[in-house]
Amino acid sequence: MQLSISLLEITRAIDSWLNSVFHPHLAYGIELVLAGVAVILLVVAMAILMVYAERKLAGFMQLRLGPMRVGKWGTMQAVADVMKLLLKECLTPTNSDKLMFRVAPFVVTIVSFMTLVPIAFAKGIQLWDINIGVFYITAVSSLSVIGILMAGWSSNNKYSLLGAMRSGAQIVSYELSGGLALIVVVMMSGTLSISGIVQAQADGWWIIKGHIPVIIAFVTFVITSTAELNRAPFDLAEAESELTAGYHTEYSGMQFAMFFLSEYTNMFVLSMVAATVFLGGWMPFHIAGLDGLNHFMDYIPGIVWFFGKTFFILFLIVWFRWTFPRLRIDQLLKLEWKYLLPVSIINVLFAAFIALMGWYL
């Protein structure tokens, strides 16, 4: 009936076929590789799509057309960019810390891919339904700061160092409110697992039935994730007009492309998390009691719902970027420590009260 179920059947079919041909351990290994490759391909493809979409969107917001010449409507523009970066020389500055300089982009990229593990793309399409999914994502995503600090330090460039330090301060600060925003939903759903949270929204998304605390948490989460992504208006770590290119000033070619890729991957992951936690993930739009509507919504496959919500949040993030000026470093930290964090803490208390009383719909 639904595409999501058919996707589930495909994965099950592959699983049983592999088990019948190979030794179960080998089959498990093959499945891991297949799943990894599939997810990486998906993410790279989506990153390319997103780069194109962002440039087009920016164009339309700025009274111009954006890429037009490479392929029809410039659709191949991002592909050309990626190809070009692949073929470009990778320079390592003479006085840099060479090992760290070369490892840093890998750290950042691997961390951003690791955060994809517990994401549920559709019903049953999930790499690992780990029971502490939300916790895993918050824990792993904060590791990327290590890669950024490595990049900034090893480049032997003062702009890079400044950028990395800014990024460190920023990511460490904004982790807090981001985590607290997720806790609100975790408390209401009563589970940390991603699939559990999605299931809890079968009768309505949290943003609708969760009252004010979830709306506050959603807004906080979108702000903090923009900050964690180092994107405008929080792009201080790579502030072009101040620090030329921040922590990746010295990176060229593919190494730079990996930073770029990880930024876009992180953007996806955080949008996907927001979509899952607050907007119901692959769960269609349901209103308890209206069975006709619910059935109609069920006809739209879960994967469409999921990516639709993800792209909505991505659009928000892109919209911020092309609208707002950049904050200053002290204002950035002030926003977190003086406004977002107290609000989040009070919000958690408020949400706990509501969750205890069962006042959500």
Partner: protein, 183 residues
Amino acid sequence: MDVNKNTEPFPGEIYEDETGNTNFLVSSIDKLSNWARSNSLWPLTFGTSCCAIEMMSAASAKYDWSRFGFEVARATPRQADLIIVAGTITKKMAPVLKRLYNQMPEPKYVIAMGACTITGGPFFYNSYTVVKGVDNIIPVDVYIPGCPPRPEALLEGMMKLQEKIRHSRAYVIDKPKKEENDD
């Protein structure tokens, strides 16, 4: 005049294949890499004077160089493919320009925009500081005359550069001698 009908090879082609034997695989890779390189020219934000304003105009909505994928102007030479020398280069600036050029990763291209960068232009006579032609410092791929050139001229120059890249053979070049590694 129909520009597109121009089938003659681009005069700026510099990489000749001596043997004339091209292997199918290499030429296909060549084609692909040239396609990617020519369509993704990221300029360095480098402007010294008036021409920089016309460069900004070329980025603005009316001329919009993002149509060709040029809009990703990078502030750091490490990530740029192309340096548009927009404006006069003086003797004090020349070492800086040379260094910027050396900092860029291969393959890299240079456009000399405006009369000042081509010959010294209005500052050719009587000036004691102006470098008389940026090609005294770094190799130039495309020259765009004008004082300053119109944005259309800049776009045309960049398209000429694309044409040049498309006609180059990426994998038969004898690699130019590595310049001093400047970081």
